[in-house]
Symmetry: D2
């Protein structure tokens, strides 16, 4: 059972719920959402009369294991990253280089992607690499460079965290914390970002089912962080002719199941520069709330993921067409029944 509570009059009812849970053996978790509301997640049975308290604004009995992420819990969520809204109907473009290497590179990339229509800057400071001998990112120095690029361009920044101990320092610099595909089921990390009040971009593990992905979102929500965006970034299939296989089916399917915004990463999802534009537009046509794309001025000299990084000129064309497709999809005169 999930109980929604009027925050201004909440103390009495929370105490009463606590007392009732002790009597019945249920567990209660009070969630003080960073969107200003208050919920109580009740695991187990509880005496029904405690729910007649006037501060109880709503009750629902979840049918899904991802009780807070489910559309049963709320209709939509708009996530705010700096001044940018994700999930308000207009596609958001996040773009930037794979990895932060120095101030000049990042500022020039940030200005280029901003001019192309991006409103959030991406870039890696902590990089998960298959080989221990590959460049692992600049760490905190990279975070400082990201913050510098934000100061210059005004773009809020999203960057990856890889372990619980990196969360606080990263949240001090960044506007959004990315959980990478390899960490989708790193539960201590999910709990830790759930305890912050910084928005989270939760990438899908490349062999995670839709339900497992929503359960990972649930770990974050259950700690009270309501600002979660799901990011489809390609799954692993039998077909290795591309690096990964972008699963756009996930977009409309998630829209039926969850209130959380959904964005798509066609760069990692295909691993192939020439396919990025087509799959980006397809993602928007499928209903995605935004795109995250690797782009910088000289893709061929990119320090990582060069083969999937596009030029800002192509990013600009994608951004223009994405907006037009999103409007067309919503247009009344062409309405889907």
């Amino acid at each position: 059972m999930i109980v929604t509570i009027d925050k201004s009059a909440s103390n009495g009812v929370i105490d009463a719920l606590g007392a009732a849970s002790v009597r019945s053996g249920a567990t209660i978790r009070v969630i003080d959402w960073n969107d200003g509301s208050l919920s109580v997640n009740v695991l187990g049975q509880i005496e029904p009369d405690v729910l007649s308290h006037p501060a109880v604004a709503g009750i629902h009995h979840p049918s899904k294991p991802y009780r807070l992420a489910s559309k049963e819990h709320r209709e939509t969520t708009v996530v705010r990253v700096g001044d940018v809204e994700i999930g308000n109907g207009k596609p958001v473009i996040m773009a930037g280089p794979c990895v932060v290497s120095d101030v000049e590179q990042l500022v020039s990339a940030a200005e280029a992607v901003k001019a192309a229509g991006a409103t959030i800057l991406r870039g890696g400071a902590f990089k998960p690499r298959t080989s221990p001998y590959s460049f692992q990112g600049l760490g905190e120095e990279g975070l400082q460079i990201l913050a510098g690029a934000r100061a210059v361009t005004g773009l809020p920044v999203v960057t990856e965290v890889m372990e619980p101990d990196q969360v606080d320092v990263t949240a001090a610099y960044a506007d959004m914390l990315q959980i990478g595909a390899r960490n989708m089921a790193n539960f201590p990390l999910l709990r830790k970002v759930g305890k912050t009040r910084t928005p989270v971009l939760l990438k899908r593990g490349f062999s995670a089912t839709i339900e497992e992905w929503l359960m990972s979102a649930e770990y974050i929500l259950a700690e009270g962080n309501a600002q979660v965006v799901l990011c489809e970034r390609g799954i692993r299939t039998f077909d290795n002719s591309m690096r990964f296989n972008l699963d756009l089916n996930a977009v409309p399917f998630l829209k039926e199941l969850t209130h959380l915004p959904v964005v798509v990463d066609p760069s990692h999802g295909t691993g192939k520069r020439s396919l990025v534009a087509s799959m980006a537009l397809a993602a928007i046509a499928a209903g995605a709330d935004g795109l995250i794309i690797e782009s910088e001025p000289n893709p061929d000299s990119a320090k990582c993921d060069s083969a999937q990084t596009i030029e800002p000129e192509q990013l600009a064309a994608i951004a223009r067409k994405a907006m037009a497709i999103a409007e067309l999809i919503e247009a009344d005169e062409l309405a889907l029944v």
Copy 2:
């Protein structure tokens, strides 16, 4: 080596190629294309001077195993099904019921999908079913009903063939022969439809790689039938939350590799009615030349695939939006670089 020949002056050079192949131990296959041209597929080495004959219009040395299907061989192919062109830049909608059950059902479905914007009628007479105890289709009676619906509505028809012995009778009634996913690697069947001059809709096997799929097209092309359309219809992955997983990455990837038109089947590709519209529009945004969709007036009473069959009203909305997206994708002022 593939040698393109001026048909009006071809006899001499073909004889010369034949003689040269005997001397060098090469194999030659003369392909009298149903689009009016003539090619000679040379497997092995041949004396170069025989190629200086004036009737030789072109020579290329294929680098891909799918030598005729490759974009190296020709730039584009437009396939003609009745009066309908597939691959000319405007998306084509093929629609109709999963299976043909009787004249009234089919004619009413055909009129409904025509009104919704479909220009080719689909419907199954021979049905591949997982269980030997399921309804296997009406067979030739179903073909007669399809021909009747064409007579009433003017829509050309596409229908599946399952074995070599069905090809001639099906080609006598239908305008396009469908090879189903389970038969993509049924090589005797591919050779047999290759020997006809009827257009072929070649569905992707649900665990076939892109290259295996193009090799299956090659079986048809190698017999001289140039009228092949590829159809993505969903692959099998670890994620069974949907029936199949529509692989839209295949669309732009095929466009780089082959001159054959590519259409998408969002009905089988998702198996879920509520996802069909989003994935249909995404397919067009990804660059598909058309859609094949299961639709009939009363989806809930459909004899098979009911869960993925949509109403003609929704088909009409998809058709309108698909046209608008295709135009937008091509529009100069929004050009992709």
Copy 3:
């Protein structure tokens, strides 16, 4: 419902079942098994009193869609290929070259694998090849060579059929008909081999589920051919470091579900010569009734599948160890509970 009937007194009851099915709208299929028994497969409801006829020896209500293949239908099946029994507790080794190329090659290979312990000879006359330009096998000439090698060595032969029209000629020469992985869902072909009385080796499609595989067996059984052996030969997964991924889990899982014998093909299942011995022994330890292995005297010069073909000396070692493991698995003093 499946009704087992005493063959000597069957006429009256079959007429009665037929009449009852007409009254109730059920369908009945009389199966005159090539193992001498008689069953009636009743699809739909039927009046219960017709079942009290004295010739009715047994009745069961199947809970699985593969009603005849299910262990509910019978406990075990022993398939006889020439004088060789598959499914009697002792592992059977089938071996030989990938493809039949000439008499000398095949006879020498047959003698070598016989000396190594093989009791059935394998070899391809009709070959399914991904490319239309690859060698497609010798066809009927290959069948004649196989029959010749049988005459010399006494080994019964198993060989692949690819289309319904090849079934009769192949059955005239061979002792067992192989359905290849690509044809596991070629339903017209399954029906055609079901109408013969020749044993069938049914390979698993490389992305077929266990249930789909049993449904394909059901197509054969439903035509009255009880002599079906299932062959696991590798599935397709995300991991392409091997050609296929031999799925040994299928062996004990099938043993719970079906009475049909199960053999394993470690040659195609791994595609890698150095892994064949380990996976062959693992298959026997998992409970397989036999192995089918590509082996010939000079693997490196094999006309196809050279990389997975082993020398007869290694085959002999596998055969010896396989027998020892099978005995050990069954040994009482080490009994599994």
Copy 4:
């Protein structure tokens, strides 16, 4: 390049290598192995004359990205967990409950699996659970109980760590640290267990390729911990009829690539109690160095993974047969060529 150094005379050469690396821009990493040897992992070029130092015992130029895990680096590794050796040719059985719930349960389980032939006790204190609402393990209290069971039975214990901050406390109690499948690519965690001198059981991610798995082992080895055992525990495929799909092909394939011991987990690998014995024996026949099996006295009341937990009596039968198969595989008179 990897330089092996005589430890007793190492100082001079390490200084020389360091100086040379500064001059050439290479990176060197000195690895003081917990097996008593010393290696220098040189990334980049270095002047060749520094290698003529008398303390240089060996040099090899790795051809694989997993340079330390590769068989090029050393032939075999025997890992010691307490008094137990893994990788010495005799299969090791690790067994115990999924999760530690209390002292009585664990001690009784430990005594039962010891009597059945297990020599290492497994049990979870920190549990990765898909749902934030499932029991997450007892944490340090669970570690104390494990240490208590070791004191009673003498069995060394293996238990999972989920985040870097848990490593030191877990290493203080346990004899072997398990990295679970979901954490195979948790690189900060791998580095942290690499810095300990406690043996590590590295489970394969359920969609990790063989090479990715070896690269994860490389993260541990690169920190100087040579005591790594690989554990195959099932991969994710299209076939969901079992929980996972145990990939025994990995066993002989790894034996060609790496010197690290390989064990198999048939409990998670199948998720089905009735398949555990067959797949355990198949793993040994495939060449595995050991098994890790969930077993406790009352499987049906197990707090987690009940469906895949077996009774100690069945474990005893598996252990007996596993030993017999391992001997038979190695027996000279049945030698594989």
